[in-house]
Each structure stands twice: as C-alpha cells, then as structure tokens.
Amino acid sequence: MTVGETFTWLRRTGPIGRIAPHLSSRSVAAMVFALAVLFPIVHRNDADIDSAANALTYAALALGLNIVVGLAGLLDLGYAAFFAIGAYAYGVAASWQVTPEWTSFWDSFQWLGLVTRFHETGGDVVHFQVSFWLMMPVAAAMTAFFGVLFGFPTLRLKGDYLAIVTLGFGEIVPIVVRNTPSVTNGAMGLNGVMAPQLFGWSFGVDATPYYYVGLLLVAFLILTSQRLKFSRIGRAWMAIREDEIAAAAMGVNRVKLKLLAFATGAAFAGATGTLFVAKLQTATPDMFGFPVSVMILVMVVFGGIGSVWGVVLGALILQILQSWFLEDLSQWLHALGRLVHVEWLQRVELASSIELIFGLILVTMMLYRREGLIPATRRVAALTIEEQSAQVAAGRFETLTGLGALDEALDNPEAGPLLAVDGLTVRFGGLVALRSVALAVPPHSVLAVIGPNGSGKSTLFNAVTGLVPLNEGNIRFGGAEIAGKPPHVVLDRGIARTFQNIRLFPNLTVLENVLIGMHARLRTGAVEALLRLPRTQREEHEAREHALEILAVFGNRLLPRVDHVVSSLSYANRRRVEIARALASQPTLLLLDEPTAGMNPAETLELADQIRSLNRLGLTIVLIEHKLDVVVNLADKVIVLDHGEKIAEGTPAEIRRDEEVIRAYLGRSAAIA
C-alpha cells in the first residue's frame, strides 16, 4: 500500500472511525445493564440482593480509585478517607446526631425542608433531615474539595512518597472522626441515619431500592470514566502516569490535571459514601480504615489497573467471593471434614481468610499478570512480514502547510530573532552546566548545536523549555520573555521538543502519543468530555485527522502502526513518533535533541530529508546533532558548546575550519597538527 492508500484506509476504518473504542461495545454494555436490572426481579433472595448492592458500592469505589491510580498513576493508599468524608457528610446531615438549639436562623432551612423543629424539654432543637438526593452531589462536591485541599501540597511528591502521605491522611480522618464525638458520636458510630425517600416513599431497610440506586451510580460512573479516559483529559492523565516530565514538556499542566484526577476520584468516593451510609443507616470510624483502602486497591489491581470494565469486574468478583462463594466453600469443607473425620477441616472458616486471599491476589497479580483480568491496553497484532518489509514510501507534507507559520509582526526581517538567548547560566550545585551562553535563531532557519558529550547541549534545551531552572540570563521567544516559565507554558507559546533518550509514553499507542502532543491546542475539558457535545466530537475527530496527517510525514513508517503501543516499536520509529508528537503541538520552533541517534545511514538520510522538508514548510528548527554530515546538510548556522561555554559560532563551513572546535573535539595535538 502506498502512503495515500494507507491513509484513506485508516480514515475509513481506523482510529478515526472509532473515536471512542468503547462505543462499539455499547450493545454489550446495554445487555449487562439489562441483566443487572432484572436480577432482583428474577432472583428474589434478600440476602443475595443485599450482597449485590454492597458489591455495587465497592465497584463504584474501585471506579473512583481507578481514576486516581489507574489513569493518573497516583498511588492512593488512603482512598477510604474520602469514602468516610462522603459517608459522614450525609450521616450527619440526615441523622439526629447533632441537635443545635432552635433559633430563628433555622426558619429558612425549615422552609426548604432541610431541617425540622423538634420539641424537647429544655427548649426546641434542630433535627437535620437533608434529602439523600441532594446530599449525594453535595457530598461528592465536598469530598472533591477535600481532594483538592489535600492534593495541592502533596501532588508534587514522587509516587511511593505520595502513597505514604495518602496513607497518613487515610489514618488521620478516622482518628478525627473517632475523637470528635460531639459531631460523629465517636467510636460508637452515627445512629438513626434517615433512609432515602422517593416521592414520599421511604427506602427503609429493604436492599432492593439501594441495589437499583447503586446500579445507576455504577452505570453513571462507568460512563464518566470511559468518556474521560478516551478524551483529552484522560490522555493527559495517562501521559502523567507514563512520564510526568514528558507530559509537562508536551503541554500538560501537571498540577491542574493531577488535582482534577484527585478531585474526580474523591467525588466518586463521596457520592458512594452517601449511598453506603444510607443503606446501613449507621457509620462507624472502623468502616473506613486502611484495610478498606487496601481492599479497593486489590479490586483495582485484580481487575486491571486503568481498565474501567476491569475494575468493575474485579470489585464484583471479590465481593461475591467474599459474601457467597467462601461461605459455600467453607460448608463444603466442613462436610468433607465430617466425611473423612478430619477435625480441623470441620472448623475452617474461609470467609475470615479473605484478607489472606487479598494479599495473595496482590502478590500473584503483580508477579504474573500486572495488567489484571481485563487489560487496559489492547494489544494489536504485529504487522505481517510483507507489511514490515514494505518499500519505504516518501513522506507527505502537502497537508501540513502552515506549519511553523508566524504572526506577521514576527515574520519580517526587522522583528529580530524568533528565539534569543542571552547570558544564560545554569548551575547544578558547584557544577556550571552553562556559562553565559548567547544565541539567536532567526525565523525559518535551522540552527545546529554541537559539542562534546557533557558540554551542556541538552541542558540548553532543558533551560529553554523550562525543565531546569536557570540561574541567570534571558530567554526571549517571539519577543516575549519565557525564562522561568513552566514547561507546559513554554510549549503553549510554540516551542516543542524531543528528548535525547526518547521520552514517549511507552504503554500508549502511536496515535495516543501524537494526540497528547495536541493537548495544548485542544480545548475539551472534563465536563465537555463527559457531555460529549457535537463540538467536542468534532474537535476529537479533527484531532485524529490531523494526527494522521502528521504521521504521514514519515511515509509508511508509522501509518500502519497507529494503534501499536510505542514500546513495541523499533528505536528509529520511536524517534519518529517523538518528532510527530512534537509537531502535533503546532510549534513555531522545534527543538530536536539528537534526532538521528541510533539510526543507520539510510534512515539518517531519510530523516534529514524530512527535517529539511519541515523547515521548507516554514518551521524554525534548533537541533543537537553529532553526525557532522547531517549538520552540514541542514544547518544555516552552527554554534559549538564546550564545558558549558559557547566557543564558536558560524556557518557549517566556518566551523569546520575553527581551531578551537577541532581542539574541543579531537584534542590539542590534532589542532596543532
């Protein structure tokens, strides 16, 4: 297939057709839902319906934790704390636990039906009776707020440290609940929490209505999770999970998106907490301890970290195991024990060993099946030999016109350089990585940065893109100062980069990697992703079209592999994906860090050609390169760094004759000779 044919084929059948891969399984989902609706009608066993309702509660919690751990990759070991906050919020607002004295202040609340006036000897008091249906979203919002409050100072911590901090938070919340009996009734637990009412009918203690509320909640959370996962937001979360630095360099605002993940996950737990306490009509601090956090984690790990349907399945299986299967199995073992006259077999209680089973599941899954029951990423069949050995086709650039285009104000000879670095100094402790480096990149030019290893080339890129703090100097891009700006802002201004040691998002597909590159150029937020309005769908559709156009730059190297996870690609193809990802952000300046490293001579030539074509389209390029023939071929100007200082600057021809450059590269004797 030629590039054009592949392109058309992909457009017809491929990833564009499937904007949301889960939609194809919509009928399956509808069938599962229908069966779940029928279950209490067909199977009229109260105990079983009760277990099923509890299982749904845990499925909802697992979905929430999956947002935090599975999508955003933030290990939360205190997740039950959010569950507790939601539960106690409703518990206090719908019980007689707190009874302040009645004053006229409460009149308006009584009018709204949130409180009643209760006559008691010694004065009237307030009884809270806030509606369950109101409290569910309110509790969700409240816990989301706690998620942000707690997340804000802690989210910059590394994964395992974040886990410990969340664990500490998870410990503190139940202790606070236990130690403030005036509000929570302490260790004794809340009493007399009101059952939800619907059109005047109280849910009471029968499990069936709670089962249906739980089912609706889980269905809603599945929909929310799926829509978020396959949107700009979900991709940004997964990018953070895969490689936080690269995500920031591709325009993802880490703080904002991590907080969003924390808040979303917390909101899920808060809403679930209201249902949980409404069903039990009581709550004690012990219901929300570390074992609960671990149990939810086990469900997520078992079902498949990051897999929406997986974690639901994991939660349901483990709950059903706990409440049905272990009981039955124990009975069978007792019978077997009586049969063969073995005393201890008759006393085995497997239900009490559920935590042992949880431990075994965690270890076994981690050792043998880390992707869980239903893996989050589908593996795509490898290309056939014919496809792999297909003739290399030339890239297509015609669809990328406008790449690197500049505002008129900048795009004229008087406007000065596009990028102007002046007096840039970067120190790491005592080491000076860059000392007073100055350079200027005119619009639409190619500047090459060369120098021995350790001369500060990559540090220069890191300083420009905001990944390392600079000690002194100015960096002006398009006339505006960008020094000290965070990486995602630098990208948004129009500077995209690649990394010397390739920093892709290894477990995401080629297409997803490129789409993450577009993060700063797309607008869809969490709410829009959830609603999926026509505007959002159109944006997503266009983004995918554009991603394919960018991938077509590399001919048929990447197009047949759009649905492959990048960790399965060859080294050269990974370099190409990284360039495509950078191009996806519609940069005006592209920083390439050793783009041809690890490529054979033919591949190097091919890539050099493609880089030149990109430059001809108007893109301004700075590249770090060791292969001097590539530099001579591409660069309008070369600067040479050595020990953090610029030692030479000029056209490639001038640089080749420069004695200091020869000395830096080949040593003193070569320069004298």
Binding site: Y161, I164, V165, I172
Partner: protein, 316 residues
C-alpha cells in the same frame, strides 16, 4: 543558681516520659533502619517490614518458650539471663533476617526492573499475607510475653528507671554500632554504599548487586527482629496487630531522619519515641497518632530530605 533550681524542679512525670520515649525511640530506630536500608538501595518502601516485625515478635516469644519460660513469673539473673537473652535475640534476628531474604527472593526480585509502584504494591500484599497467617494460626487475642528480666528499679530525679530500659538502650546501642561498623568498615558495607549511590555504576565496577540487596533485606529484617523482641519485653504482650502502628511510626522516623540515611533513622527513631511519649503528656494520648502522621505528611511535603537525607521525595 537559676540553672540548679531549674534542674531540681524538673517535673518527675516529664522525666518519666522522656525515659519511656527513649525506650520507644530505641525500638523505632531499629525498625526504621530496615526501611532505610532497603529504600537506600532499591528506592522501595517495604510495607512487608511492618509484619516482618510482627511475625518476629512471635518468633521471639517461641524462642523464649523453648527455654521453658512463660509469662513474667520466672525471673533469671546473672549468666542465665545473659545466655537466655543472647539466645532469644540470636534466634529471632536470624529467623527475621531469613524471612526478609525470602520475601525479597520470592516476591520482589522478579519486579526489580519493573517501573512504577508494582513492587510497593507487592510488599503490601506480602504484609497482608504475613498478617493473616498469624491471625489465622495464632488467633486474634494478644498473648502474654515470657519475660525473664528481674524487676530492678532506680530512682532518678523522682522518675523510675528500670533494668529493662537500660538493657533496651544498651542492646540498641550495640546493634547500631555494629551496623555502623559493618556499613563503613567492611567490603560488603562499601558495596552497599556504592549501590545506594548508583546501582548501575556499582554493578559495572563488579559489585554483586543481588548480594547487596539480600544483605540489606537480611540486616533490616534482623534489626526488626531485635525491635520485635524488645517490644515483647517492654510491653509484655504481642499480637497480630502490632505491626501496623509500630511500623508506621518507625517509617515516620525513617522519613523524619531522611530516608536512606542510617544516622537519620537512628535519630528519627528516638525523636518519634520522644514525640509519642511527650505528645501523650502534653496532649491527649488519643491525638498522638494524628501528631505523628501530621509530622510524616509535613516532613514529606516541606522537607522531603528529612534531617540527614538526600533530597529524594520529589521528582527530579
């Protein structure tokens, strides 16, 4: 004069709390060393350590029972006491060390090169398994710990100093000195320090990293064994639940001192012990855990390198 009076009027209750705090601190420090040794080398937070400690306390109990001791009735003195303690500590530390190595070998080594939090999640699983094995076999009630220590009391400024406290301090000091000498004076210790700095470079220089990791697990778990025996002798009981609270406090100690730093774990342990006993003195005891966990969170967020550590908690 003023100084003298101040010393004379020191509150005996406060002094008593300091004595208690130092004993707790000695135990936490020993336990914290296990977290720090493993973290220093693998950058792994080892939750299994919590319950290696708990299991060890039972091993220590069985070792003492093996010598015919039960409860606090039989008191030994002189060489009999020294011999009994030496035997109990040797057996417990050896068994704990072997348990730690087994955990590393079976559950953690296959995940050595897996990115992310897989290994940490595995240690949570291992911790749960140990916890429940003891719960299901020994049961949920706490058991009376055999204690051969005679009751010898000294009056220090109105507070009571007991023989068990002096013994605990002495044993802890000896173990820490031994660890210090091992890490700084032996070939394997040097290999450990090199691996902690840069595992890849150490491997290229011919360091057997597997051996270093096993040593770290063995030493850390053996010290947890010592801490567990001290726990039993100090509190006169053990139970399946002791691992979690003590482990979290010890982990806080390691973080406070600077995780990865041996000195930090020792100092952090003593500080947490003092905070626990004095916090209980100045505030209600029921808030002690909130204070300790708040310290954990605040240190991690604001001073991630702790008192003596390298900055490691935030991303590069």
């Amino acid at each position: 004069m003023a100084l003298q009076r101040a010393r004379m009027t020191i509150d005996p209750v406060l002094l008593q709390q300091v004595i208690n705090g130092l004993s707790l601190g000695a135990m936490y420090a020993l336990l914290a060393l296990g977290f720090t040794l493993v973290y220093g080398i693998l950058e792994l937070i080892n939750f299994a350590h919590f319950n290696v400690f708990m299991v060890s306390s039972f091993i220590g109990m069985w070792a003492l029972q093996l010598l015919g001791l039960s409860g606090q009735s039989q008191v030994l003195t002189g060489m009999a006491l020294v011999g009994t303690l030496a035997f109990a500590f040797a057996v417990t530390m050896l068994a704990a060390g072997v348990l730690g190595v087994a955990i590393e070998r079976i559950a953690l080594r296959p995940l050595r090169n897996v990115r992310g939090t897989a290994a940490m999640i595995t240690t949570i699983g291992v911790s749960y398994i140990l916890f429940n094995i003891i719960l299901l076999t020994v049961g949920a009630s706490s058991l009376n710990y055999p204690n051969p220590l005679p009751t010898v009391r000294w009056n220090v400024g109105g507070a009571v100093l007991q023989l068990r406290e002096v013994l605990i301090w002495a044993i802890t000091l000896v173990l820490m000195l031994a660890l210090h000498l091992f890490v700084n004076r032996t070939r394997l210790g040097k290999a450990m320090r090199a691996t902690a700095q840069d595992a890849e470079a150490a491997r290229m220089m011919g360091v057997d990293v597997d051996r270093v990791v096993i040593t770290a697990f063995f030493l850390g778990s053996a010290l947890a064994g010592a801490a567990a025996l001290i726990f039993g002798l100090y509190y006169n009981f053990t139970s399946f639940i002791i691992g979690y609270t003590a482990g979290l406090r010890a982990f806080t100690a390691a973080v406070l001192g600077g995780i990865g730093s041996v000195t930090g774990a020792m100092v952090g342990g003593v500080l947490i012990g003092l905070i626990e006993s004095l916090g209980g003195h100045f505030f209600a005891t029921r808030w002690a855990d909130v204070i300790i966990f708040s310290i954990l969170i605040l240190v991690l967020v604001f001073v991630p390198s702790g008192l003596f550590g390298r900055a490691a908690a935030t991303r590069a």
